[in-house]
């Protein structure tokens, strides 16, 4: 993103619609990944990592809350309603985050790839000409920079650990890599937001991300990487894994829609 010279205070109708779409997609990825991470609560390899992953999940949920608050400012929608009362067909998260949690190597590698992507996106989004987004990005990027240190550490140790841990990490990378491409697909109307300096150019984020992946996964961890580019389906196109996740995540909210205290 180029340095902004102006501040966007009034969004036109097309920009508003595109920004709502983008904020929702960002939030949906965070919500679904946080839930997958949360599935480790009580099951992580050691207590300390159980707590750590719960922390990461809470941070991601917090970021989702910030994105949806930005959306609320645009269309008055209620973040809790969006999170708890939309079905799979209405969720716009990537397949990358909805796939089952797998083993520890899969979870740590996915989180690392995601944290790096999010940290780079947020770093660029701090320059947004839309001040509310720039503020949110400045807050959230700090947490992502910590997450990525934690998950990079785990990926390194698993990759260079025992033959079994190496194999598991390599398998996870082969499974995850094709799905990661979906994170970098521009949404409808995204071009116009980029032109106005409201959001970062996702292609630029992608090239920085790929360089970082090569540096860590291949050069440092010795993993074999596919350099093939995968287009990935549209974000409305989910696997069979999302609906059961939402059923569990939304169960209490839907049973008690009038509950005042969570």
């Amino acid at each position: 993103m180029t340095a902004p010279t102006t501040t966007v205070t009034e969004l036109n109708a097309a920009q508003t619609a595109a920004l709502i779409r983008k904020l929702t997609a960002l939030a949906d990825d965070e919500i679904i990944l946080a839930h997958r991470d949360g599935e480790w609560t009580g099951h992580a390899p050691i207590l300390e990592e159980d707590i750590a992953l719960a922390n990461i999940a809470q941070d991601e949920l917090g970021h989702a809350g910030m994105y949806l608050e930005l959306r609320r400012e645009l269309d008055g929608s209620d973040p809790d309603r969006l999170a708890m009362f939309r079905d799979a067909a209405e969720y716009t998260n990537t397949r990358f985050v909805e796939l089952p949690k797998g083993d520890w190597a899969y979870t740590m590698l996915r989180q690392f790839m995601y944290d790096a992507y999010e940290a780079l996106w947020l770093e660029a989004a701090q320059q947004s000409t839309y001040a509310p987004l720039a503020e949110v990005a400045a807050k959230a990027v700090r947490e992502e920079k910590f997450h990525v240190q934690h998950t990079a550490l785990w990926v390194e140790r698993l990759s260079l650990g025992t033959p079994e841990s190496t194999q598991r990490t390599q398998t996870a990378l082969a499974d995850l890599w094709p799905h990661a491409a979906q994170l970098f697909q521009p949404l409808e109307g995204e071009d116009e937001l980029v032109k106005a300096g409201i959001i970062p150019n996702i292609a630029g984020v992608r090239s920085r991300w790929e360089a970082l992946m090569v540096k860590h996964l291949q050069d440092k961890c010795g993993l074999r990487m596919s350099r093939e580019a995968f287009p990935g389906p549209a974000r409305e196109n989910h696997t069979e894994h999302l609906a059961p996740l939402l059923a569990e995540m939304q169960q209490v909210a839907r049973q008690h829609p009038d509950a005042e205290v969570w």
Partner: protein, 211 residues
Amino acid sequence: MTQPQPTQPHDTQWPRWEVFKQDSEKRPYQAIGSVHAGDPDHALVTARNVFVRRPAAVSLWAVREADILTATPQELVSTPDVLGVTGVAGLYHVGIKKSHKRSMTFVDLVGAVQATGPGDALGQAHEQHPDALAWLVFPDAAKVATDPDPGTVESWFAPATEKTYKQQQYYGTIGRHVGELKRSGQMPGRVNEHPHVGDQPAVKHNEEPVK
């Protein structure tokens, strides 16, 4: 210094590290608990997650349990040999426990001494702080510390200052750190007496508070 212990067959845990936290540049490092971790960097990230998601901090140290020598006054009487434990000469950090009152922190680091080994450092700690309830020493070379660069402080510790709390006694109360509420006079003398949501009592009691 304690020699590395042979691994117990039933213990599959990683080594234990004692964690020391510094709340601000002007405060001493304080022992706040321990984590299990495979290596120094892992100990630090784990310590950050376990101990400083919300509490204030600017720096963390982690020291492997095996590198720490401790004694209480009772132990100095029952096993005086502890003062003769040999090891590497150099700078040793000294921690003392001053009170039984604190709930979160147990030992403050109060300085450092040049010593011929851990036993000598413990003896000096005893001489300098004869009234302590416990002494703790470890070599400076044994500690691992978080990076003091602004980037680390910003990503590891700064987010904590903006996080809200849920009251343990009443899940619905979301607010600022309890210390902040106390300082601004918004908290009752005892935290668990009258939980509030905003300025409304969270629970209506039928009887007058017990005097």
